[in-house]
Amino acid sequence: MALFWVPLLTALGSLAAPSTLALNRSLRLAISALFPAAALAIILSYTEQVFAQESIRFAMDWIPALGLELSFRLDGLAYLFSLLILAIGLLVMLYARYYLSEHEAFGRFYAYLMLFMTAMLGIVLSNNVLQMWFFWELTSLTSFLLISFWGHRSDARKGARMALTITGAGGLALLGGLMLIGQLVGSFDLDVILASRELIQGSDQYLVILILVLIGAFTKSAQFPFFFWLPHAMAAPTPVSAYLHSATMVKAGIFLMARMFPVLAGTEAWFLIVSITGLLTLLIGAYMALFKHDLKGLLAYSTVSHLGLITLLLGLGTKLGAVAAIFHIINHATFKASLFMAAGIIDHETGTRDMRKLSGLWKYMPQTAALAMIASSAMAGIPLFNGFLSKEMFFAETLNQSTLGSISWMIPVFATIGAAFSVAYSLRFIHDVFFNGDASDLPKKPHEPPRYMRVPVEILAALCLIIGIFPAAVVGDLLKAASASVLGDKLPYYHLHIWHGFNLPLMMSAIALVGGVALYMNRQLLFRVQANFTERNESIVFDNGIKKVRNAARWFMQRFDNGATQRSVFWLLFFALVVSLPPLMQLNSTAGARPQLPVDTVMVAGAVLLCIASIATVIWHYLRLLSLLLLSVVGMIVSLAFVLFSAPDLALTQLSVEVVTIVLLLLALYFLPQRSRNYAPPSLMVRDLSVAVLIGGVVGTLTYAMLTRPLDTISSFYTENAKALGGGTNIVNVILVDFRGFDTFGEITVLAIAALGIYKLIARMRIFLPSANPEGIPWAKDKHPFMFEVISQALLPLALLISCYIFLRGHNLPGGGFIAGLITSIAIIQQYIAHGNDWLVPRIKLNYLTLISSGLLIAFITGVGGFIWQQPFLKSWHDYIDFPLVGKLEIASAMGFDLGVYLTVIGSSMMILANLGGLTTVDRLRPKEHK
């Protein structure tokens, strides 16, 4: 349980700094630091157990479906890393207290830093690889926040994005690898996985797993070819660089390789990939470091190089190599963190990090200089400093392998060359900055930093020395415990001594030292050679890369999706065609066994009319009024078809909807151009025509196939029960208001919503009103022909009476609320046409919106009425009630529902048409003769 508190404490700590805004900085630091300090205390409390090679575990269920549990494990390796994370973290926090200037968001910085700490602790303490990945990606995110802390600076933004992209991409690859492992092993539990070496290495997915995991590790640890993000991450505040980019985050990749070492290492593939990558990284980093004028740039490439060294060590796959790697992790963390902090101090106190401007600082900041010299010596691998020891082990290991066959000698040779460069850039760091003449035109007058800003550097530099001199005493147990958790019980024989006698590694060190000094002395020559190569700014290359990808994406999208509606429509139709054609091809004969109806003259005439009219609509579609007339012809034939095939309700509905639609289209046509332009080239028309004919063919085939096959449906239920249970003889109407009344409820809602939407569309519409017809003839003067008015008025009461009739009989005979509503609407519309808006509106006193809402409400209430008797929504009810005088009358709840339909239909259709009609009345430019 206590283990669980380790990451939790730092996570809580991230809330402490921002929430203590009122206090002064030191106090805030103190409060914040309490959290990691407590976490550190917890870790340290396990020292004995860890050194005794015990693992401390804590587990809690989280997402079993994912195989993800909260599971922590503290073993030697985790202990080592936790120590680094927390201890160096505390030092960095102290350092940052002085590094950040007054106006900077102190609390936010600490919050990010401790979130990062949490993430790192999560990685190293995880006993579940999925959970490890969880924290792995968190480090990417938090490091993004930290690198981009100065988000107003372009290099910070770019650096942060680059780091996030590369490490994020690696993280995704890692996830793939870990998921594969999980599936292979059947668990994400690290204990289980670590015990499955044979299973994993014997699987044919091993190589995929290895590559995916290594991509994750290499990106995080800035290995070739992914290393370029690290130098650009130097745009971060220096405490961040010191912490993330030397001691912790970049080591996460190394940690991962060490963690998975027992299951993944030891194969040819591992050796080839890891060691060659490490070697290349080592050399390129070391070489590049020498040419950087920026202090932090130098340190960044040096870090790359040292990470390459560690990787190479792990890549060798030998046990001693692994020990050396772990030892170098410790050493590198100490000297590199202190060097970064020193660089930060220099930057902080002089205002620049450019080594061409800096020089002779020894005079101004001797203490800092001394500390930097200690750390660089460790970095260069000078005896007495900790870097020397691990480097010796490294050299020894490079000599001890033969995996590359006859060219195995190349590894120690390249290692020595790398070491020489290491010496050279370390020398440069010291000589160019602290000596090399006197400082001139620095932005600030340099002096020693505040006392406590130097403390972290002092501690780390001291460690470099102490470990260098008393390795076994200081880190012996730690190294042993960490190595044991990687390598298991049988540790190889090694000894941590300052002196190993004269041997080949020592020779190599000497060569590297001499070579390094020589390299540094002749650096001008090297600089000139290097100057011949145009310097690649990876940031620009990366940016351009992303830009190219983006442009390619944009280019593609513009071609693929040009936003044209027609194209989308085409795709939709095409897709419909593509899915429906294959099944129809399986149909071995279109016609089925059902007997067919005979054909007579009228039917043929109707069919001919329908086809001619619809084809003519296509041909003349650009003549709009004409197409409207053609549409009427089609509508009429369709209604006749409904009549012929025993669907009187449908015929009535079709007819009335038809008229309303025509009126609507006529209203609209006034505002639209009278003719359509043709935008399509002939090729496109041929394409469209083909699709159209094919879809028509599909639908026609479906119709015929369906019509000629016997069918057994549920409809006999309706036929049998319409009268008995629904109380009506018009089955269609009973279905509409009772059996499937819910559909009708939805349908009138649709109508009502359409009316609301149209009202919205009409509101504030600015329209173009033509003052003459397309031929240029001005509109007729006679607005309301009187004979038309007279007859319209005469027909109105009759039409209303018929609508009542249609409404009331609907339950038993063709008709019903919908048709009746439409007839009423049409009768009213006719009045609008005959008399105009101005005349009619004051006389008609109907609020269409209220009509809609009343209609809906009536339907609704009829529906919920049954709730009182514990009946479901729309439970119908009908009975014969004996009225005095009148006699028995049938009363049915369905009538109420139908009344709702009736009112909604009137309200909606009138709201649509009358509003549209009224559109012109207000601001219409009146012809001159109408005063």
Binding site: I63, P64, A65, L66, G67, W133, F134, E137, L138, S148, G151, S154, R157, T165, G168, A169, G176, Q183, I546, V549, A553, R554, M557, G563, T565, S568, V569, W571, L572, F575, A576, V579, S580, P583, L584, Q586, L587, V698, L702, D712, D738, R740, G741, F742, D743, G746, I753, A754, G757, Y759, K760, T850, L856, L857, G863, P872, F873, L874, S876, W877
Partner: protein, 509 residues
């Protein structure tokens, strides 16, 4: 009589109807209170629904007409999830809209309510024609809402969106006609039973009809190549509307789950899983095209729209992975992506408002009035959307990845999902740095600060993602049940049908 299943339809319907009556002077206020009231009622109903679905699947027979003759609502885990999700999203969107959109056009609240009625109905109905009706309700409401606020952009997008959907509805009806013409029934469970009994010749016809439904639902869910409407529509719509639309693609997906999992599912004999061979390549292609769109997007809203397309592709795949066994993961991801998608649209709107003329385009512009607040919102939403820890996107994607077993499926699904995440990562980091840090010298416009309602709405939506992560276990347990319900509910309804055939109808009172 347990009316629970119909309440999610009736409550918004009643609220919408009441809002249309003429009211005293401050009618917007009245409408707003009605809206809040109905959301409060819905919150209670959702709670009841989630609990009720936990221990039984409820059938609600409208008008008392037993299936397959009447229309039937089906309340199971799956519909419970969808209803609750819709309510939460809609509440936040509506809350956001109270700040501004309620007055930028008429009928904001009633249309919002009708939209909810349509969506909830689509999630609850067990009848395929009734599904069509609810589709139309939610569509017509969405048309009206899309043009809310007015302006060229909206009108243009509306033409595109509506044109496509009208065609979609036409195909819906053709499909329904074909299915009725072969199966002779409209109840989904009854259809599921009858599909297996078709003669080979009828199978061909029914298959054509069934696959036409894929066109319809694919259009709604923005499956490639029917996705073109989405970026245009979502980026043009007013923010709360766009946020609400985040559930719209899910209606299409839900219908795919129900119809192609339930009717044409594993038990459909020769017509089993007819959509699977289509969904595989199209789902993958949807992710790819969406990702390309994410990269290419010149503005935040377009980018988010494409992120939604990617999530649609992911969800489509989750349906076909491992013959439906990935669906539980998909449902978890669905919850996550809907809420995050909604939040992103709201955040994008705040950004658009505060950045002045540059709107949400990725160009240098003035600094935001509240960079810290909105930046945090954006960062959280982006993490969730990309699928990074510690938020729910990670859980969702990992669940889906984990559900893939077959090696050939693994190769495709894993690579597109992971690469899609990478693209999203690149795009979001670019967008974030561009919008929040790459600022011109112009002074921030403090008059455009976010209103409390807007902040609360976004916070609520974003709060869901850590909660989904922390409580992933109970949620995944529920989604597992829901995935199982695609078959189980069908069986249950079929039992009811068989039993009611034996027992004569108990008649009217």
């Amino acid at each position: 009589m347990n009316h629970l299943p119909i309440l999610p339809i009736l409550i918004p319907a009643l609220a919408g109807i009441l809002m249309l009556f003429p009211t005293p002077a401050s009618s917007i206020k009245y409408q707003r209170w009605l809206a809040y009231l109905s959301f409060a009622a819905m919150a209670y109903v959702c709670w009841q629904i989630v609990v009720s679905a936990q221990y039984e699947t409820t059938l609600y027979v409208l008008g008392g007409w037993q299936p397959p003759f009447g229309i039937m609502l089906l309340l199971d885990h799956l519909s419970a999830i969808m209803i609750t999700l819709t309510t939460l999203l809609a509440f936040c969107a509506c809350l956001y809209g109270t700040a501004e959109e309620q007055t930028t056009g008429r009928f904001f609240y009633p249309l919002f309510m009708f939209q909810l009625m349509g969506i909830n109905g689509a999630f609850l109905t067990g009848d395929i024609f009734n599904l069509f009706v609810f589709f139309e309700i939610l569509l017509i409401a969405s048309y009206a809402l899309l043009v809310h606020g007015g302006g060229k952009e909206k009108t243009g997008a509306a033409v595109h969106y509506i044109a496509l959907n009208l065609l979609g509805s036409a195909f819906f009806l053709i499909a329904l006609g074909t299915l009725y013409g072969t199966l002779g029934t409209l109840n989904m469970a009854d259809m599921a039973e009858k599909v297996a009994l078709l003669s080979p010749q009828q199978q061909a016809i029914a298959k054509a009809g069934g696959l036409l439904l894929l066109v319809v639902f694919g259009l709604k869910s923005a499956m490639l190549p029917l996705h073109f409407w989405l970026p245009k529509t979502y980026s043009a719509a007013a923010a709360p509307i766009a946020a609400l639309f985040a559930i719209m693609t899910k209606v299409g997906l839900y219908s795919i789950f129900r119809v192609f999992g339930g009717i044409f599912g594993n038990d459909a004999g020769a017509l089993a899983n007819i959509a699977t061979p289509w969904i595989w390549p199209l789902g993958i292609a949807t992710i790819i095209i969406g990702s390309i769109g994410v990269l290419a997007a010149p503005s935040l809203r377009l980018m988010i729209a494409n992120v939604i397309i990617v999530s649609v592709g992911t969800l489509l795949l989750s349906f076909v992975i491992n013959d439906g066994k990935g669906l539980s993961a998909g449902l978890y991801y669905l919850i996550h992506s809907t809420l995050v998608g909604g939040a992103l649209f709201l955040i994008a709107d705040l950004i658009r408002i505060q950045r002045g003329g540059a709107q949400d385009r990725f160009v240098i512009a003035r600094s935001l009035a509240q960079p810290g607040l909105i930046g945090s919102f954006f960062f959280i939403a982006a993490i969730a959307a990309v699928g990074l820890p510690p938020l729910s996107g990670f859980v969702g994607k990992a669940l889906i990845l984990k559900s893939v077993i077959a090696a050939n499926q693994q190769l495709w699904v894993w690579s597109v999902i992971l690469l899609g995440s990478l693209v999203a990562l690149i795009a979001f980091s670019r967008a974030g740095t561009m919008l929040f840090w790459h600022v011109s010298g112009a002074k921030a416009d403090d008059s455009k600060k976010a209103k409390p309602a807007q902040v609360i709405a976004i916070s609520l939506l974003l709060l869901a993602t850590p909660i989904l992560t922390i409580f992933a276990h109970p949620v995944t347990l529920y989604t597992e049940q829901a995935a199982g319900d695609i078959h189980n509910s069908m069986y249950q309804v079929q039992d009811v049908i068989h039993n009611s055939e034996k027992v004569s109808h108990d008649g009217h009172h």
